[in-house]
């Protein structure tokens, strides 16, 4: 495995991302507007004010959700 990257599960899909990303860094890497999303890491909600300090670890299971059409 490339040492500069790590494997995570993101919204149910296996994904390789650069090492050393915070949650904020990941959202920026994915080009996702972080104002309107919520993030769950290994079943725990990541508070918005922790996005910049929460490091993504190898093997993390992340869910990034937002509001979509629905009734």
């Amino acid at each position: 495995m490339d040492r500069k990257s790590m494997n995570i599960t993101l919204n149910g899909e296996k994904k390789q991302i650069p090492n050393g990303l915070t949650v904020l860094g990941l959202l920026e890497f994915l080009n996702i507007q972080h104002q309107r999303v919520a993030v769950e890491r290994n079943l725990d909600i990541v508070k918005k004010d922790r996005y910049g300090t929460t490091m993504i670890q190898e093997g993390d299971v992340l869910e990034v959700v937002s509001f979509m059409s629905g009734g």
């Binding site: 999303v37 937002s66 509001f67 059409s69």
Partner: protein, 258 residues
């Protein structure tokens, strides 16, 4: 006349609440919602599309500053999933409101009452404003209110069925049983269904498919607006009692040849 609906200190300008699902596109969603006159729209909580980031976002069309966003837990079949979804919705940072749905069965989409109570208990403790989707059961409504739900949302008929209010008597009993706003949620088909709900004394109606699935959703959105207004006004006006026999509308006095 101040006739505003207030739930947990939040003022609602409209008694028609509209879902954002099943429209042709975001432009049609926006137009239907504007025409309906609503200020409350429901949304689902779903995974962000990681692959296709060019996809537009619903909230680019529905401005959260203009509309109250009501996230739902639609599609959740367990209390655990509903709690997880509702907590994520709250963390998105737009609202503390949640329309709690815990579905019990795929075919009917009837709520799992037991799981709904369980999830409501946890979410209320977490400080969310829980508006629960429930069967049209007065006992269930009472239990949800006892837990602290500031409103209840009994179904009129199965979600998306368009059958209208199947049991107006139960809705009436719910209205007499609980002191909180009662919002009919799901199953209405057309404007008269909405009017009937309001005439019964319900505080609001939430619908989606009845507008989105109509041949002309924009025109139906307008019809629903008037349905709610007409029904509410009729309720407040105090209708005449039903009688078996006629009562003449014209005076008997002054008839020719008398």
């Amino acid at each position: 006349m101040n006739d505003k609906l207030v739930i947990s200190g939040i003022e609602f300008n409209s008694r028609l609440w509209v879902g954002t699902g099943k429209y042709k596109d975001f432009a049609q969603t926006k137009q239907a919602i504007e025409v309906s006159g609503t200020d409350v729209v429901t949304v689902a909580v779903r995974r962000v599309n990681i692959i296709d980031k060019t996809k537009e976002n619903l909230l680019d069309y529905i401005d959260p500053k203009k509309y109250k966003i009501l996230p739902n837990t639609a599609g959740c079949y367990t209390a655990k999933d509903a709690i997880r979804t509702a907590m994520l919705a709250a963390e998105a940072g737009i609202t503390k409101l949640v329309k709690l749905e815990v579905i019990g069965d795929e075919k009917t989409l009837f709520p799992d009452n037991e799981a709904t109570l369980e999830a409501a208990k946890v979410l209320l403790k977490e400080g969310l404003i829980v508006l629960p989707y429930t069967s049209d059961d007065p006992i269930m409504a009472k239990k949800l209110v006892e837990l602290g739900c500031p409103a209840v949302m009994p179904l009129a008929a199965p979600i998306g069925s368009g059958l209208g209010i199947r049991n107006p008597y139960n809705i009436k009993i719910i209205l007499e049983t609980v002191k909180v706003p009662v919002i009919v949620d799901a199953g209405v088909g057309t404007a008269s269904d909405v009017a009937l709900a309001m005439e019964l004394g319900c505080d609001a109606v939430l619908l989606n498919t009845a507008i989105a699935g109509a041949k002309d959703p924009i025109a139906m959105a307008e019809a629903m607006k008037y349905g709610v207004l007409a029904g509410r006004l009729a309720y407040k006006s105090g209708r005449i009692p039903k009688k078996l026999y006629a009562t003449a509308s014209s005076p008997i006095e002054g008839m020719i040849g008398s």
